[in-house]
Point group: C2
Chain length 318, copies 2
């Protein structure tokens, strides 16, 4: 099969073996989305080598759970050991020996086929089309913010960033009725934020918003995001760190102590709430698609996804 693999560089391999794990389910990938994490991995983040890709929709080909065969599915991406206390409590996302689809110890979705345990797979209803279904995994991550902090109509929220993840965060938060401000560099992306219901502020004007927000969500994907978040948040407020990136950050932690800020890291969410939100029609993602390309053009699609101003680039397998 074909697979877009990273070793020294990213390349399309045409004779990759089928990913077969005993007791797992084989999925024929339909579409898969390129995420900022994929771009960071190509720069060295996570030290991963293998097939990239973790946002997908596909059709089940083989499964120990026979009723899954033929179903169109999206997937949660963490696969735990199944034996540790975290896995036994139903949360493999922090299993210390987990693999993560296309990120850690497990080939990913930029291929004709992928393998995951059946427990990771969720049927996608017909109301969600293939390209929208690719957003279910990052939408789950965006909605997962609401597991970390209570946000209601009285909460002043700022989102640092205007990219793909930031846009999904905005769309996830509109259901709470909170006041949303998006802070970003790109006028075209800020327009998308406005359409989704946010007040949009160019990064160059962010200084005026100092200390104005109860909650600041860093979805900037950049090392400087947290420093801006620290400036924007009110004393005793909360910062949610949503994006990972390769490399270190230099910052002053003194305001965190003096202003008694709270910072919470937030990563993968659950697919159930994401499927429910998207099938209700309350989350529009079609405006977030920059391009749909063939897997055969994978390396070029990656280059496109890394261009300034690019939003989601989707790979279609056939």
């Amino acid at each position: 099969m074909r697979a877009l693999r990273l070793s020294d560089k990213l390349e399309l391999v045409r004779d990759a073996p089928l990913p077969r794990h005993p007791q797992e389910t084989l999925v024929q990938v339909i579409c898969a989305g390129i995420c900022n994490t994929d771009l960071e991995i190509t720069k060295g983040y996570a030290g991963f080598e293998g097939t990239l890709g973790h946002e997908f929709v596909g059709r089940v080909v083989e499964s120990p759970r026979a009723e899954l065969i033929g179903r169109r599915v999206a997937g949660e991406i963490n696969v735990g050991c199944g034996a540790c206390p975290l896995c036994k409590s139903g949360d493999s996302r922090h299993c210390p020996s987990r693999s993560v689809l296309g990120i850690k110890g497990r080939d990913g979705a930029f291929a004709d086929y992928l393998s995951l345990p059946d427990a990771n797979l969720f049927e996608v209803p017909d109301s969600i089309d293939d390209t929208a279904a690719v957003f279910l995994e990052p939408l789950a991550a965006a909605l997962h913010i609401l597991d970390a902090i209570e946000i209601d109509h009285s909460t002043q929220v700022a989102i640092v960033g205007d990219g793909k993840l930031a846009q999904l965060v905005i769309r996830s938060l509109t259901t709470t009725g909170c006041d949303i401000t998006a802070i970003g560099k790109h006028e075209s992306k800020l327009s998308l934020a406005r359409v989704a219901g946010a007040r949009a502020v160019p990064l160059s004007d962010a200084e005026r918003e100092r200390g104005a927000f109860d909650v600041v969500i860093d979805a900037s994907g950049s090392a400087s995001g947290i420093s801006l978040a620290i400036e924007l948040v009110k004393p005793t407020g909360t910062i949610i760190l949503k994006s990972t990136h390769h490399g270190s950050t230099t910052l002053s932690l003194t305001p965190v102590v003096v202003n008694e800020l709270r910072i919470a890291g937030s990563r993968c969410g659950r697919l159930g709430p994401a499927i429910e939100a998207m099938s209700r029609g309350s989350i529009d993602v079609t405006s977030l698609i920059s391009a749909v390309a063939s897997l055969d053009d994978g390396p070029q699609a990656f280059a496109r996804a890394g261009e300034p101003g690019a939003m989601k680039v989707i790979l279609r397998m056939s």
Copy 2:
């Protein structure tokens, strides 16, 4: 009056004016303790100029609250504007226009007299002697950790640091029954931690403790404390940042996101619970005193307080 003041350098001034603020209470200082924050301020932290010192016990000389006159008191150090929503809710600690005794916009306790509003002052019972009373303010800060996070007998807690604040944190946490590990550089200080009920681990062995703790408290006073804390804490665990220091920190925030850590800054606490804990006799602080010096020897006492291995150096005013 005498005052130990910082401008270009730290020096004892003999003809400082009495600190008189309308509507406030004048306190004759008996003893005051040198804190790491004072040492950091002399390096440029907080940009403060004036009389240093914020840990004190003294006797009320003049007050609009007549019943305070003659009483021996300790004090909370933040003075808010009294008019903003935070002040009106009873918490001046985060008032944006607050002054802070000996730290921000208000002369401090290394002087014959200081001034504070009567609401900041708390009578010290006879069971707490003068040198112990100096620890009430930092003890309140240590106990304030329990306002930020629930800790009980099942919680595995590590404290990064073995200095004055770390020792008070250990002593504050023993009441919860939690399992306490102190990680520090100085064998003599680690011995004090052991006596207080902690398991003590030399910093050189900290590597073996990776991912072992539900809660890690950084009381190291150093820029590298948080990076070690991030290594020590379990996935989804909590880091409490307790110490401030001058300058920036370089760290990787990726584990904060991937392991969904929580970080909370924690600063000043309330004197009431500190007085209660110390008067119950459950908090021993006498073993934490390195020296008691005269205010006349203030600059030398500062040098002593900054030596490796030093614990609390107390200035006595008469």
